[in-house]
Amino acid sequence: MTKYVLVSDLRRCVGCQTCTAACKHANGTPPDVQWRKVLDIEVGEFPDVSRVFVPVGCMHCDEPPCQEVCPTTATFKRADGIVDIDYDKCIGCAYCVMACPYQARYKVDGPSWAYGEQTALEKQRPYDKRIGVAQKCTFCVDRIDEGVANGLTPGVDPAATPACVNSCPSAGLIFGDLDNPDSNVSKLLRENETFRMHEELGTGPNIYYLWERRS
């Protein structure tokens, strides 16, 4: 079996938002829709403060609350773990947006343009199918599918790897198959301490946050 997960090495991330931008390029999302973004979080009080940059987005949960609530089955989980949306089925009730504890889902009601008028870029990358329906990170599923079909390994070959992972200038995002014990992500999880966000909600999120090497 295959189970795609993302590892975010919080030690490496500097919050530069390059992944945010790369995602916007690869997926042609409209203004203010960010399937991937990096949070700038403070913990503690002056002068004992930590500032942490935390990449977030769809966690491709084992038990996706979005899928459970979706009245249309538009949100579905693939055998490889990716949670995807059938835009043609979605009615845009936004119930999945309410169910996602990661604020990973968006719904836009109409076209909006970065500069107020549609540019050549926006004409080239129409997103009308995603208007009025739920949208979120797909782990760049098209790249993965095309890559796998061409014998490439997601997380290793850039052409089969999510754009955010490819772009990261700190190599702080690592993508791969957790069911493969020899994969990059399996190795990282064995050798390092990680946590997952809001795990207590029973979602089984699949972004692992690496925070320290295992002693």
């Binding site: 500097v14 042609g28 930590s50 500032r51 940059f53 500069y115 990261c168």
Partner: protein, 913 residues
């Protein structure tokens, strides 16, 4: 996505050099002729320090290209009145009309003589910070070279707020225009406000992330918790501008609390001036005949010259020396029959004695125990005595470094900080060795392509340095430019970069109020401006904008309308980053953390046709050269290498016919062929088509070139540390020259030329300025600082929507950061509108409450405050630049100031949240 997929998809290799931390290599996906995506250049994975990655700014290039707010035709001003509140009345014109108009002005200037009655160039130019516009200027530098006299002293548009003292002192001491830790080999870094995670580009980000994973400890000393502070092991919240005290205390710990044996004694004895004997007048004791500095040889128990072989120079102690001299300013000589000289190191120990951590604690608001611990950790991690082999050569290995950031390296205190940092490295033998503190590149010394080749023997066993003259016969009584860089700042030298690294704000200040003995101010007849927006990014920007409005003829290469080109007479739309052609050098070692194992060339090429009438810069340069009758000189300049590569390589000659007008492609094809020949030792001559397909070409280089130590060791040279006899002397000489001419307004700056920096109340300088202008410092109880935004810095991308969108994920891009404790005391809540006022004026913005800032400090990220630039003018994000004064009193001897100002703050109204 909907609809059928694109009919045609191409991936085009190119480079991004929007910031000084470039270049990075990327590919652009082009669908049906429309650039849609940026991707890293994975083909560069093995040769680029950041494995072919580019940062968020490069991704913004797509949106920069598609921005409908672009200026896409040449335009001229129809309203002769200039000013912020005047409508310029720009109307589209043809290129012919625009070029004729500019050409006419230049020809008129040439007819009058390119230097005016005050001795200043009639044509001036300002290109944005860090020299990055050079990588987009095409062959325009060849046009400027053909014109010969250009005044660059209005600066790059940012005030003198770069790593300025570091540039000057760094080049002086170790050919370090900028300074970096040897991050891949370093284990312990004390970073005073050096914001590398935001300013060192992808190479810095990648290298430091690797280092963190490897186990480096970085202690970030700064008043607010920057992105770099966030990514550090420890944050020390120091009071603004008190870094010199912290560093002095570190030096105290090393030299006063540790026996000298804990330091790198061989390094100090043989690679520094620590054993040089200092005479009673403060100058080296020198051999009476050879005038070489003397040391005390412990082996022979006798004085020896600095270059004597097989000696054991004493580091500590005072020794009686017979028959020697001291040489002061203007060849003043003191002859000593018998005199006691003290070693420079002994003098250093005495100098640092009062500056204990306890002394510094009160100044820095940092516990003495923290300062002492950091100093001791620095020493412990230095591994004094360890060695490492690099490419077959055994070198010292000292995995510790001290790095400095902006506002630490510039303005008052910059000398103390740069000296302390260099000395800390020196004491442990960690200067220019693996793991240690390294220079990156040279800009003032020559040749610019090699730090190693620039390190040639100079006086007294040190490297040579091209100081501007201070002797009676050669001092530039008549300033060479409006900033007077070569008159006032000997250290800034006289390279092509020197003008822009002089005290450029003086050029602005002296336009209105020239000081005693200064030539009558004149405006340049023509001022070119590209990728710079001084009306936003300088200091005291409203005042500067008023001055700019008085310039008679301003030509702006314009991406969009902005606050500076609002004053322009002509706007010229250039084809931008993804639309034009240029070959540049890549690799080697460059600022800031670009340390490559390769060097070579990369091409920037059009991935899409430029919109409207936007033209390639090289075309513009050629047309201007033709119009002013300088085509031949222009082509010859290109042939000499003004486009980056000399076109004759060995027996291969790709030179352009000088008399002919050449197309953009022809010119760059020749440059590409010459580059291929150069990189292959004359073997190859691939041209433009090859580079268009491949994107770049490199050849391996030795990592030994990262370090200057081998070059000095091979030549028997010493680092000019710790004692600054040479600076002390030229300072006295400069004072003599100025006083002879009744110029006393630079005296405070002249006092800074001391053999050891003398601690003074650096923060107090700002209070004194307030008192001088009749204000009570108590009314301005806070420090206002700025910090770099990685998303924006240097990018000229403030009008790009996507950048704004993603930058808003980083705290502070929406307002003024202040500590919640401060806010509570002032009744301010998150999102409230607050007013921040300096003695000049006030700005308003939203309160952003963050724990990661000292309660006595406010922070405004980046440089906003736009009122004209489309999109940006709707931000409501304030900038400190209109609050920061341009003052001679705030200018140090290198001619730099710092980005900080004392302010008050009050709540204006409740916010939305």
């Amino acid at each position: 996505m909907s609809g059928a997929g694109p009919a045609e998809v191409r991936k085009v290799p190119t480079y991004c050099y929007q910031c000084v931390a470039g270049p990075d290599l990327l590919t652009v996906r082009v669908e049906d002729g429309v650039p849609t995506e940026v991707e890293p250049n994975f083909g560069a994975e093995d040769i680029h320090p950041a494995h072919g990655r580019v940062c968020v700014k490069a991704f913004g290039l797509i949106h920069k290209t598609h921005n409908p707010n672009r200026v896409v035709t040449p335009m001229k001003r129809t309203n002769p009145k200039k000013g912020r509140h005047e409508d310029p009345g720009f109307v589209p014109i043809s290129w012919d009309e625009a070029l004729d108009m500019i050409g006419g002005k230049i020809k008129a200037a040439m007819d009058k003589g390119l230097v005016d009655e005050s001795g200043f160039a009639r044509i001036a130019a300002s290109f944005g910070g860090g020299g990055t516009p050079t990588y987009y200027l095409g062959t325009f530098p060849a046009f400027l070279a053909a014109l010969r006299h250009i005044d660059f002293s209005f600066g790059s548009g940012q005030g003198v707020k770069c790593y300025h003292s570091e540039h000057l002192y760094g080049e002086f001491w170790h050919r370090a225009f900028t300074v970096a830790a040897d991050t891949p080999n370093c284990n312990y870094v004390v970073s005073f406000g050096s914001n590398v995670e935001a300013s060192a580009g992808t190479c810095g980000v990648w290298r430091h992330a690797d280092a963190r994973e490897r186990g480096i400890k970085r202690v970030q000393v700064e008043p607010h918790l920057s992105v770099t502070g966030a990514a550090s092991g420890e944050w020390v919240a120091i009071k603004p501008k008190t870094d010199p005290a912290f560093m002095f205390a570190m030096l105290h710990v090393l030299v006063c609390e540790h026996p000298v044996e804990h330091l790198d004694v061989p390094f100090l004895k043989h690679r520094t001036a620590a054993p040089y004997l200092i005479g009673p007048n403060g100058f080296y004791l020198r051999h009476a005949d050879s005038r070489k500095p003397l040391m005390w040889d412990a082996k022979a128990n006798a004085p020896v010259t600095h270059d004597a072989a097989d000696v054991d120079p004493a580091l500590l102690g005072s020794f009686e020396v017979a028959n020697c001299v001291e040489v002061g300013p203007d060849e003043q000589v003191w002859t000593h029959d018998r005199v006691v000289g003290e070693t420079a190191h002994a003098k250093l120990v005495a100098h640092m004695r009062p500056h204990s951590p306890e002394w510094a604690s009160a100044i820095c608001d940092v516990p003495a125990s923290t300062i002492r611990r950091v100093a001791n950790e620095f020493l412990d991690h230095a591994q004094v005595g360890a060695t490492v082999e690099i490419d077959g050569r055994t070198l010292p290995y000292r995995p510790v470094a001290v790095t400095l950031g902006k506002t630490v390296t510039n303005g008052w205190g910059g000398y103390e900080c740069c000296w302390s940092r260099t000395l800390l490295a020196t004491l442990v033998g960690g200067l220019e060795v693996p793991g240690g503190t390294l220079g990156t590149t040279v800009r003032l010394n020559r040749p610019a392509t090699s730090r190693q080749l620039s390190a040639v023997p100079g006086p007294d066993g040190f490297m040579n340095y091209p100081m501007n003259p201070t002797d009676k016969d050669n001092w530039h009584r008549q300033p060479k430019s409006r900033s007077g860089y070569s008159t006032l700042v000997p250290l800034v030298a006289n390279s092509a970069w020197s003008q822009a690294l002089g005290p450029t704000h003086l050029a602005w200040m002296f336009q209105k109020e020239p000081p005693q003995g200064w030539p009558k101010p004149t405006y340049p007849d023509v001022w070119f401006m590209y990728r710079t927006n001084p009306a936003i990014s300088f200091w005291d920007t409203p005042r500067l904008t008023e001055t700019m409005a008085d310039f008679p003829f301003l030509v702006s290469f314009a991406y969009t309308h902005d606050e500076s080109n609002h004053m322009a007479d002509v706007l010229l739309p250039d084809a931008t980053d993804l639309e034009s052609l240029q070959l540049i050098r890549i690799g080697g070692t460059k600022f800031i953390e670009q340390f490559w194992d390769h060097q070579g060339f990369a091409l920037r090429q059009p991935v899409a046709a430029p919109p409207g009438e936007c033209k390639d810069f090289t075309w513009i340069a050629t047309q201007l050269a033709k119009r002013v009758g300088l085509l031949e000189a222009y082509n010859k300049a290109i042939n000499r290498g003004a486009a980056g590569v000399e076109l004759s390589v060995g027996n291969k000659n790709f030179a352009l016919e000088p008399e002919k007008e050449h197309s953009v492609e022809t010119i760059w094809d020749a440059v590409c062929r010459a580059a291929s020949a150069e990189i292959s030792g004359g073997e190859d001559s691939e041209g433009l088509d090859w580079y268009k397909e491949k994107g770049f070409r490199v050849t391996p280089m030795s990592r030994l070139d990262w370090y200057l130590y081998p070059t000095l060791a091979d030549q028997g040279l010493r680092f000019e540390m710790p004692y600054q006899e040479r600076l002390y002397r030229i300072g006295l000489e400069l004072a003599n020259r100025m006083h002879e001419n009744d110029m006393h307004w630079w005296d405070t700056q002249l006092d800074e030329y001391q053999p050891f920096p003398v601690y003074h109340d650096v923060p107090g300088v700002w209070s004194k300025v307030l008192v001088k202008v009749g204000k009570d410092p108590k009314d301005y109880p806070f420090w206002l600082l700025t910090a770099r935004s990685m998303q924006y810095a240097w990018g000229g991308n403030v009008g790009v929507q996507m950048i704004r969108e993603v930058a808003m994920n980083v705290a502070g891009h929406n307002g003024v950061i202040l500590n919640p404790r401060t806010a509570e005391a002032l009744g301010i809540e998150e999102g409230d509108v607050i007013e921040v006022a300096s003695h000049l004026r006030s700005v308003k913005g939203q309160a952003v409450l963050r724990q990661g800032i000292r309660p006595d400090t406010l922070l405004m990220i980046g440089q906003f405050g736009h009122w004209k630039t489309p999109l940006a003018k709707d931000f409501d994000t304030p900038s400190m630049n209109s609050l920061t004064p341009m003052e001679l009193d705030l200018t140090d001897s290198t001619g730099s100031g710092a980005d900080l100002v004392r302010v008050s703050v009050r709540k204006v109204k409740g916010g939305a949240q």
